[in-house]
Symmetry: none
Subunit: 204 residues, 4 copies
Amino acid sequence: MSITGQKIWNPKRATDRRKQVLDAAESCFGMKGFHGASMADISKAAGMSAGHIYNYFASKDEIIAAFVQQNVERVSAIVRDLHQQDDPLQAIYDDLEKSIHEDLQVGYWKLPLEIYAEASRNPKIAALAQAADRHSSNEFLSILKKGRQKRGMQVDELALAGQVEAMIAFFQGLQVRAMLNPQLDEAALVEAMKSAMYVLLFDE
Amino acid sequence: MSITGQKIWNPKRATDRRKQVLDAAESCFGMKGFHGASMADISKAAGMSAGHIYNYFASKDEIIAAFVQQNVERVSAIVRDLHQQDDPLQAIYDDLEKSIHEDLQVGYWKLPLEIYAEASRNPKIAALAQAADRHSSNEFLSILKKGRQKRGMQVDELALAGQVEAMIAFFQGLQVRAMLNPQLDEAALVEAMKSAMYVLLFDE
Amino acid sequence: MSITGQKIWNPKRATDRRKQVLDAAESCFGMKGFHGASMADISKAAGMSAGHIYNYFASKDEIIAAFVQQNVERVSAIVRDLHQQDDPLQAIYDDLEKSIHEDLQVGYWKLPLEIYAEASRNPKIAALAQAADRHSSNEFLSILKKGRQKRGMQVDELALAGQVEAMIAFFQGLQVRAMLNPQLDEAALVEAMKSAMYVLLFDE
Amino acid sequence: MSITGQKIWNPKRATDRRKQVLDAAESCFGMKGFHGASMADISKAAGMSAGHIYNYFASKDEIIAAFVQQNVERVSAIVRDLHQQDDPLQAIYDDLEKSIHEDLQVGYWKLPLEIYAEASRNPKIAALAQAADRHSSNEFLSILKKGRQKRGMQVDELALAGQVEAMIAFFQGLQVRAMLNPQLDEAALVEAMKSAMYVLLFDE
DNA sequence: AATGAATGAGTTTTCATTCAT
DNA sequence: AATGAATGAAAACTCATTCAT
């Protein structure tokens, strides 16, 4: 429209605006849930008019989807970090206390619980969450496999797959525990988790 | 008014109608979630006008609360059954395959996930869920304590509390796993769970 | 239906039941207004099922109408009492303090105000209220006419009609004053009213 | 956003829309009363969707309150005009015919009657109406006081307060008369009112 | 690019009225 | 005569989405 053409689509700005919206969504969804948070809430938190948001997202559902995508990617990133470890089995075991402590913080479980519920009835969200989960699980499995091989252990892939599932269940279950039992004794839990994780990690 | 008095107020009918509504709510909440399901949906599923529902529940929130209450009581009932066992530790261990299989069925995880999300932002629901959880956890703990004593084991109550938390986390985590990984290999998972549960149950 | 026939329509009982309903309506309408009071409220106050009320009144509107009728009749009764007076002009004047005091009580103005508002937009109620008002005004006028004649005064009927209107306006205006000015100084008002009523009553 | 800033927030438009709604409310409330008029009625009369009205008023109650406020202010304005008069006592007396005529028009009494009824059971509206009434009464009293002093009369403030109450009762009573007696003979009424108002105004 | 005014379908809830018993 | 379960239409209000500017 203008002679200099600076009004042409600017992908950098678009990315920034999407991030602005998703950050706002994070705070709104955390407080009110996906369905309790209104577009007006999000637009206010994003410092942007509700109408304008529709230039970057086709619908509220798409915001939810993008938000979920962003969140499941965080888990992938955590797993990816394990790749760097020399002895991942030991590293995971040694980090248990910290990992558990993190998992029990409200910032760590509130939105995941929201996502699980949404995924349990919204097929689009389910597909996203399942795909991300598959990817992370596979990566985790391959890390553990390499880790065991490095230690000279025989690797029964099927058994390992079961152990991976169980370990992830443990950590996702902790998110539920954090919500249901705010008085939970963390130290005692860490001790119990250590013994259970030990047999799962080292297959003993 | 009648001599037999059965017309003065008929609690049976009220109970029936409430059950009718809660059954309808179960199916609607399962498909659309607490907030996605409308009173119109519920009334249609209950075969009753929306207005009439308000003769039995003061508000939609009260339906949700009653529904959640009903659901958390199912868990309590499961724990209560363990009281009957002669050697509960062994019984739990032996039943693992069946318990896990049950927990992975859609009917077992869909509504719990919904409840966890709702509880994470609705204080009334949180209070209900937490109270039920506290009760079940305590009962589970006392069952295990007695079980260990019967077996002549020393009981470290704090350690046991941590183990109880971990075991519950396991099973609640399975509900998340069931949703996120529909292709999950149950047999492998059972093997892994057995080894982890063994150390938690028998403290070895 | 029964052999003895005691189930045949019993007009006495019907009258009783209607009174029961109208008494209940009085208390409900006073608290919540004609439209704020529900049939459920009235039925509870009447100690009778809502459904049953419809055996005695065809609709809620009919209850309102009957209630209004009953109320406007009270005013007629007050006027009728004046017929007994030997010197009605003096009697009215002497009773002013008491009449004003009564008119300022909440029980005397609350429902009239409700009725005026309803009549101002509901033609059926307007017709009732206007008919009763016409009747009372005429009777009041004829009482004053006789009163003046007895005192040997000339009676200008048109002037008297204007004075009657003004006097009634006075008293109905007091109902509004009572509502709008709860701190109203009654003694001062009585003095002022006395002087104004004097010229209206005695045409001086 | 624009340099002149007129887009940042446009208070003119908001004021216009509120006026549009209040005008619509006036006609709807007049026809059906505060509770008989629905938001749908008002929105249709305002030429605006019902939902949109909530951008300008938080609730229907707030519309009623704003509407009542607007109406009671009209009375204040009438009293304020008297301040301009050189000899207010005489001015009021001379204007009686016109004032009475106005008071008897349907536009003058319909909504006041509605307001009186609403105020008689809605504390918020009662507070509004009473505050406005207090203000107008005080102003009216001070005008009369000055007027009497100008005429060299002694002013007994308590007596004057009673007379003020009586005069206002007169005019508010006329609103009821207009509704209850549509055939009212205005000329006769004016004559009667003149004699009564004379003694109240000039304290004779 | 950005606004926010505006819509209309949808939400929960209330209530006069009917009717089987 | 009497109940109260049941209905359905309407109420106030919310909100994702559109669009003129």
